[in-house]
Symmetry: C5
């Protein structure tokens, strides 16, 4: 005597197991039935009883990476999102109604509130209007979504950085009790060929447990790698050129050319170059790229080498009735800075030279000995600083 109970149950839960009746296999007949059974219940979660869970199958394909905004720490992508779920108790006979699949305006159905937790702006996606409904009650909702999502960007290794951006799909309100997400295998269909390259997509389904209830969610991890060629060509290479120039500018003879003016112009050029860097570098307050630090240190070294040039010029051309360079300064410059810029030692010349000339402009070797400390003394011999202490006269 099971049948009567089932009959009773069927009458109690409308749409359970019973199929739609189409008066004829025409679109009109099917939509009349759907109107009555489905469209009128737009407000209801399509389950037979409250205790049932709606299972939504989710598939996300990354169609394009539009950009990364380091300032607001966001990532803009286009994702093709496909959701599938069953309207419980809805089915029809394919032959009776004439089709196994119809397209229905999205407005006529209850739609699960699957959202992306990291979403940060109003929806700017291109709009689509129809969903598919098949004769077993399965709804397929395909749509493109333009996602502006948070992404904690770490630009320390810029421009060789790899970012890991997460998108957490989940129902905004419905707990796992009401709506549960399952995952479909995801394929990537990348259309864009821009600054960012997609290295990998990882997907995990998890349960977020908070006091209010458990939320079912699916996390997509997009591993993006920046293509560094632009920054290497426009930032790193010219910077290295200028630094090379600065290193070799020690070869300029200070007696003939104005080495300090040369180096000053070089620093000016580097400042102009910093202007370019300022346009290209990602501007975010948290953490500075290593590249930025590299540029700052380069500038610091250039300034230090210019200062050294100034000191040496001062030592070389000043008369001896002025105060000598303070001891600490000469030690700092000659022992440590010389070591920093890696100046090699020269073997002592074995030729003994005697200076006989009065040396009206420069200064004699002997005088300098008295107040220039040892390191500088050594420096003079292999350094490009030409103090001309000994000149072989005829």
């Amino acid at each position: 005597m099971k049948t009567p109970w089932i009959l009773f149950f069927c009458s109690l839960l409308p749409g359970l197991g019973d199929t739609l009746n189409c008066s004829s296999p025409t679109p009109e007949a099917l939509f009349d039935s759907l109107e009555k059974e489905l469209f009128s219940k737009k407000l209801l979660r399509p389950v037979k009883s409250f205790s049932e869970t709606l299972k939504v199958t989710l598939e996300a394909k990354l169609a394009g990476i539009l950009g990364v905004n380091e300032k607001s720490q966001s990532l803009t992508t286009i994702i093709w999102l496909s959701q599938k779920w069953n309207i419980q108790g809805l089915s029809w006979d394919e032959k009776e109604c004439g089709t196994s699949k119809v397209s229905i305006s999205r407005e006529k159905l209850w739609i699960p509130d699957i959202s992306i937790s990291e979403f940060m702006e109003e929806d700017k996606s291109p709009k689509t209007f129809y969903v598919h409904l098949n004769n077993h009650g399965q709804v397929t909702d395909d749509k493109p979504v333009r996602v502006d999502s948070f992404c904690k960007l770490d630009i320390y290794t810029f421009p060789f950085d790899i970012q890991n951006c997460t998108m957490t799909f989940g129902p905004y309100l419905h707990t796992g009790h009401s709506a549960e997400l399952t995952l479909q295998e995801s394929r990537e269909v990348l259309w864009t060929k821009g600054e960012w390259e997609l290295k990998n997509i990882q997907v995990t389904a998890s349960i977020l447990e908070i006091p209010h209830g458990n939320y079912s969610e699916i996390k997509y991890y997009f591993i993006l790698r920046r293509r560094p060629i632009l920054y290497v060509v426009n930032l790193l290479l010219p910077s290295c050129f200028l630094i090379t120039l600065d290193l070799f500018s020690f070869l300029l003879p200070p007696a003939t050319t104005d080495r300090s003016a040369f180096k000053m112009t070089l620093i000016l050029g580097y400042t102009v170059f910093l202007l370019i860097m300022n346009d290209l570098l990602p501007v975010t307050g948290h953490g500075t790229p290593l590249l930025n630090v590299f540029f700052s240190i380069s500038l610091a070294l250039m300034v230090a080498s210019l200062l050294e040039t100034i000191f040496i010029t001062n030592i070389q051309f000043r008369s001896d009735n002025y105060v000598p360079v303070p001891h600490w300064l000469s030690v700092l410059v000659l022992r440590y800075l010389a070591a920093i810029v890696c100046l090699p030692r020269k073997r002592r010349s074995t030729r003994l030279t005697v200076s006989l000339s009065p040396e009206p402009k420069g200064m004699t070797y002997e005088k300098m000995r008295h107040f220039i400390p040892r390191p500088l003394f050594r420096l003079q011999r292999w350094h490009s600083v030409q103090l001309h202490p000994v000149r072989p006269f005829l």
Copy 2:
């Protein structure tokens, strides 16, 4: 004989104390009842009588700081806003209707007009559609809100500034008599890792009393601290480098190198650097950052030191048949400017030197004595200006 009066009251105020009747524990039955009792009264504030106050519990979590616009004095944030209130007189039996909680489309309900007074633009929040309604009539409305709010920014201490931005949540129209806000403990769930760091959130509930009536409001104070590393590396450090260069450029011997051209190139570099500053500094008309003043003073000092160099060069190389430097100018430059740039005094040399040479290009020590005032005279002795008045000849 109290019951009849209560019965009468119940029939008078529909929904007071009486529960929804569900014909069966199915979604359809519950929504039919809700349709009749609740959705049809969307226009009405959900209270039993006009004198009742609707109590709204508010909870705001700061999810992300997207940016601060100093020009328009605004702050952009994402806030997760949770509002809870009771629909008076609505309840149902959990067993009878099959559930203790349903999700309802927000459009079907009366929603309190809680707004943020500092809001300044149209709503660009991502949209959500459902709210929760439990069997005691409590509505829970969770939604993310993208807030563009006014914030009086004080950038005097930039880039080490701390901003205090206020958000005043309150009903836009309903006085405290109609709607009252209460506060729930707030947790911060910051997603972003950008230029601004959240130091503290303070919340106070207060009453705004204006002639029209009293408004209940909740003020959130967000204390934000700027992460200064970007500005230190890109603005402060290079600026200090250039200033250091300018200070030490006094060591350049004026006889050999063109010191004024060197300093002019330095000032040119500083001008280029001001261009970078102009891109990075917050541009707001009200109050200038201290940093800006610092840069201006640095430029002023550079210009002053270049002017001093020009004067000294002029004094050093001019012949004596021209007019001397005006007294006020030499006093200004030599006594006061020399004190500003902190030039130390040198002890008088005890060696007496006699100049015998005709000095065709420079000028003799004795001649200068006549028209150079004392301070300059002292300056010459310890300054890097090499007048070569006395040269020990063999």
Copy 3:
């Protein structure tokens, strides 16, 4: 026998003088009555007969100045707009219906089409939904409005400019016959502290008479003053520094230093500075700020002084077998340009000096006398140009 006529009139004009009947002092009862009497007449101007004028009381508070766009000549502000009008013939008994004031969704009412004539973009205001209706039929509609309005900006005195922006509130379509604006006292509640300071608000109510009919309008004049500190620190000060440098660069001895190169570098620096100016100056085609003209004249003077330096250098170092400077050029440079840069005259030296040396590089005083016109001759004597014509030899 007046009563019957009135009764007839009342029945003829529904809602005149008769009050709403509430079956009980509950929200439901009041809204049932309102639905019947008010909401069904949403399309109608709420007057008893067409000849009646709807009086709208307007109050506008300036809440914030978001910015001024000189390019498109527009002003963006946030205004708190309060409109009040009476629904003629609507009233209810406070006791009978239970309240003296209800909040109603704005969509349910006829709203006057008060607009701002200078408005130039789609509405981006934050949205509010409710208006107040009291028991005398008065509707109070408060809302924030983000206004992008035209404003004829005059930037001649930039950055010390004061702008007068007008906002003309008025019904877009309804003539004064249909809708009339009256003015309520306005208070300013300025939230922002940006580039612009509000000096004054003036309000006048006027009638715009055009052939179609008379339109009632209220004009708000917002007098805004720019806070100039940013532009003074970043534009005026550095510019003055560079001009000062240029003036004093005449003190550089042309024999020792390359004065023309120095001045060329200075002009280069000024060009870089013009780049900053180009970022900060308001770009509008109509009328150029005085500041812009000042910068152009400064550049012109710098170029002129460099040209003078070039001429003098040429005169000083050329040999005498070349063509002399054309007469008109020397007069132009020496008489008029010298006057422009305010060179003082020096008293003739009374000392007679005789030059005996052959002067291989420079030129003798006597030779120059022959082809340098008088003014230049005078110029040489007090100018910083050192021709070294007379040197006291031992």
Copy 4:
């Protein structure tokens, strides 16, 4: 027996010739009638039969020019658009219904689809809601329209360019058979005072004949003139200053100053200036402004003059044991380039000078004669190049 037929016709075509019946001269009565006769036919073109043409009278006033975007070739304006058309068969008695004019919500009426063919973006106009309907059935639809329209911009004569932008108003779909545009005299009410000045408005009504049918359209030609003062002050003047400097830099004596360095700094300054130009010039790929070409030619001339300086310096200071300048190069530089920069010829000096000195650094007049071609020889004599061939020795 004509009357019955007409009666029949009247009953057949509702609203033809018969007037609305108002039960009383109140708004309610009129709107009840309108609801029945007009609002229910919102979908229908308001004509009595399909063969009738709807005549729309159009008036457009230019209220403001917001900007021109050369990159996307578009023009943004605010236009006050007034359309008038008749609802055939609608009329009422002014006395019977109480008014001759009512305001009606635009949504309740059929609106002609007059659009602008050049429109290129979504509508961002401020919204208005009401139209006027008078008792003869004439609808007056006034609204402001923010127009982003295509405009073929020709920037060849920038900044003195005059643009001719067309706006073609016409029904998007309805052929001339269905809707016909007639033109009302147009007045300009320009609010803005920006970069563009309105020279003239020309209007023509025409018929667009395409195979589908004839479309009635009205073309507005807006003749706009750019106000060039900004570009003259910021672009043309500084450029001319720098070019003047370059011309006169030939006066610098090459023996004393480093003329090539001077010119190099000048070119550097011009490059910085090109940076400003790059910000201000309209960036469109099609056709380059004449101004841009002028700047390029200026730069080319500067570079050429610097090259000439380099050659001359080379000739002047090199020893004679090096290869001479190739013949073609000297001819190019001295005959043609000299002609280009308009160097005048000097009369031959009649003084014969004999060089006796060995000339250790320079070169003798006689040696140069041998390999410097005639033109250069002539050039030396009046040019500022000082070869010092003849020096009067004691």
Copy 5:
């Protein structure tokens, strides 16, 4: 006995073959019929049975190219899109209903979901409201569409690049079974005259076969050519000027002028020029334009030539008691770099010169022979480097 079956079929499939019945040839009568037969079936695909395919004819005209965004790899265009399809079973008698064509509000009809796969943003097209319906049931839907579509941009040959952008029109959801696209000949009506020139449009209709079903799609290939004149005038020409300068700067005599300073200023100018390039070059991370590489190589060559100058200056002016240039460096510079900059060989001078002078500043020919390798030795002879080894003394 075929007729009854057909009759039965007609009654079964409403609208098949039977015409609309108009009670009178008036708009009202026709719309009444349409309301009943067509508007009520807005949700249904307009076919007689599910197995029928809806054939949509598509025509796209490119009206304007608004811009290309290299950063996000997108193309913005305005396209005039015309779709035509038949409502099966709908027809009316032209005479009976009075017209052969009516305009209908788009909202009243089922619209095929033809979308562009590459679309990446919300729809910003100007809105139109009406479609045409003729008496054979054909719907013509014309509308302008503003398309923001992906386009894989290859900027390797910038600014002479040709881009091929694809737009794939197809139904988003309906498989080829439900909706089929056919193609109409397309004409181009280009309004814009901007940076991009349309070279060609190619169209192909294809079938996209995926497991879910076959989708009918039409691919438009837009071949766009950039107009390079702007970039040639502003980027290529000035760059070539500066490189020319650098090449000829070898002619500067190192003894008289400071050639290294000259070249440093030139490099500074090139850095400023790179700043302009940075503004104009398309910034995309994938692939760098050849032009960018050209600029980098130019900068590298300039730096290399400056380094060479530094080395030569060093060799020329240093004394011989310092370490000689390392062998590998001189070989690198003199043999290979000299070959790179294409220095010609000079024939050996046959004149024998004997140096007698002590050469206090420079160095003798003989001494240099000992440590300068052969290539440099050769270089000195035709190079502009003036070592003055042989001076003809009297």
